[in-house]
């Protein structure tokens, strides 16, 4: 009871800190919208303010879910996966022969994966998609009889499931990790992951806008610069280290974990951008004002969640 109360306090401190940041960001955004005059800068500020408004909504949903307990959090992430997969498959050239396969992917595999998180069946959770879905879904496509681009179509559906469902489900799976000497660590670990990833994204954006000169991969994403990457990743890792009080880690461990999370997040952004460029779009969707689609917002979590989950599980659980 005592311990629970203490953890609740930490969660509340984290929530309070995030709210404080958002208030600050909103105030700065409001100030800039009043002072900035140049047309191009105004567009940037307008986009930034749209992003901040969307942040308020996303933080609200996330905090409510995490405070309401595991089931609600699992449902929230399951729904996020569903929306992300929907965006991913939309950009993927599937054929009518894939229709039933896709139906299975959306309405059988995705709910089952999150059901396994909810019932804490780690063994099946970790192989459902890489083993069963990978082998059985192509069977349905083959049975439909259309061989055109079969390998490419199959790979695209599998990759979509992997990124949007399997990887994302590792975030709520943090809630089932049991860490010795640290009860109910799950919600704090999840909060830590999401906070560090998103801070890193925001800081990379800010450093990139302020100092960005040399693009990392100009053909993939002109907005990702070496300066933005270094500034964002290092600052976010340092902040992550300072959040050690809210985690089972000590300062250096929390720094190292944050570095892992932010690097993986950066890789995620890069890979998902490459897919967007190949498909000739700027964003995966248009659901969240200023951010694009769900997948544009969670691309870094897709990559960071499995890394963070497995490293934490190996060293601490």
């Amino acid at each position: 009871m005592n311990l629970n109360l203490e953890i609740d306090n930490r969660t509340l401190h984290l929530v309070g800190g995030v709210m404080g940041l958002l208030v600050l960001a909103s105030a700065i955004g409001f100030g800039l919208s009043r002072t900035v005059k140049a047309e191009k800068a105004r567009a940037t500020v307008a986009n930034m303010n749209a992003r901040i408004r969307a942040w308020w909504v996303m933080v609200f949903i996330f905090v409510v879910a995490i405070l309401s307990g595991r089931l609600v959090t699992v449902i929230l992430f399951g729904f996020t996966s569903f929306m992300a997969l929907r965006e991913f498959i939309t950009l993927t050239p599937t054929r009518p022969g894939d229709h039933r396969t896709l139906f299975w992917a959306f309405f059988l595999v995705t709910p089952l994966q999150y059901y396994l998180v909810a019932i804490e069946w780690y063994g099946l959770f970790s192989i459902l998609i890489p083993v069963y879905a990978f082998l059985l879904l192509p069977v349905r496509s083959a049975a439909a009889g259309d061989c055109t681009n079969f390998l490419a179509r199959t790979s695209e559906i599998q990759w979509g499931l992997m990124i949007c469902v399997y990887c994302v489900s590792h975030a709520p799976a943090l809630l089932i990790l049991e860490i010795e000497g640290y009860e109910n660590a799950g919600p704090l670990l999840l909060f830590f992951l999401v906070l560090v990833v998103q801070l890193s994204d925001v800081l990379q954006y800010v450093f990139g806008k302020l100092l960005g000169r040399r693009p990392v991969a100009p053909t993939v994403s002109p907005n990702k610069t070496v300066e933005g990457f270094l500034g964002g990743v290092l600052t976010a890792s340092l902040i992550g280290g300072c959040l050690a009080w809210a985690t089972p880690f000590n300062f250096w461990q929390a720094c190292a974990m944050s570095l892992l999370i932010t690097m993986a997040g950066f890789f995620g952004g890069l890979v998902m951008s490459a897919i967007k460029r190949d498909r000739g779009v700027k964003d995966y969707g248009q659901m969240i004002e200023g951010h694009g689609g769900v997948l544009d917002r969670i691309d870094s979590i897709c990559f960071a969640a499995p890394f963070f989950f497995h490293v934490t599980r190996y060293f601490f659980a």
Binding site: F82, P96, H99
Partner: protein, 200 residues
């Protein structure tokens, strides 16, 4: 109630994001004419309209299909307020054009699929004459071309279960029947107006 449930379901299933490119949503008599690739077309176009416009817009639909079960009948009559027209045995008594014109009172708009059926080709089939007759008899109504994209992947012909994918509904610039324009010319031009929205 049912209407907002259906709109929510459509949003969840296929996004149905409206893109108003050639006009803005307005309460005035309009004829929205669109390509037809899926059974969900009418519902999706209807859902893409803002609520006020939606409640004054009636899809034109096949009588035989929509009265075939109690649920369909309820949806067509009470939710979509569809104008049900006869497509098999057209006589002077049940002329579809008259039924549509009769329904277009005040600022009531209609949704029309002038191909007269669903086809597997990505490009729309040649338009049937109904749009021309409506344009001639209601010159005041705006003819708004609409392109529904990607919906045939959500529910391809012959499938029962839908797959959730993002679709877009693009509203183009209204066209009108020019003085002296022949029926074939007008129908080709109207079809082209829908096709032209694809690469915008």
């Amino acid at each position: 109630m049912t209407a907002s449930f259906i709109v929510g379901l459509v949003r969840l299933l296929c996004g149905a994001y409206p893109r108003w490119q050639g006009c803005v949503p307005e309460l005035r008599p309009r004829i929205y004419f669109s390509n037809h690739t899926s059974n969900l077309d009418a519902v999706v176009l209807w859902s893409a309209l803002p609520p006020a416009v939606r409640s004054a817009t009636r899809p034109v639909a096949a009588h035989d299909y929509w009265i075939s079960s109690a649920l369909r009948r309820h949806l067509a009559q009470r939710v979509f307020h569809a104008i049900l027209i006869e497509r098999k045995k057209v006589t002077a008594h049940n002329n579809p054009i008259d039924a549509i014109l009769e329904a277009m009172t005040g600022s009531t708009s209609v949704i029309l699929f002038p191909e007269g059926g669903r086809f597997l080709n990505p490009e729309p089939a040649p338009f049937k004459a109904g749009l021309y007759h409506l344009a001639r008899r209601r010159p005041d109504a705006e003819l708004v071309p609409v392109l529904i994209d990607n919906l045939n992947r959500v529910l391809p012909k012959g499938e029962v279960l839908p797959v959730p994918l993002l679709c877009s509904v693009t509203f183009g610039q209204p066209i009108r029947l020019e003085p002296g324009e022949s029926k074939p010319d007008f129908l080709v031009r109207a079809r082209q107006a829908v096709c032209d929205l694809r690469n915008r």
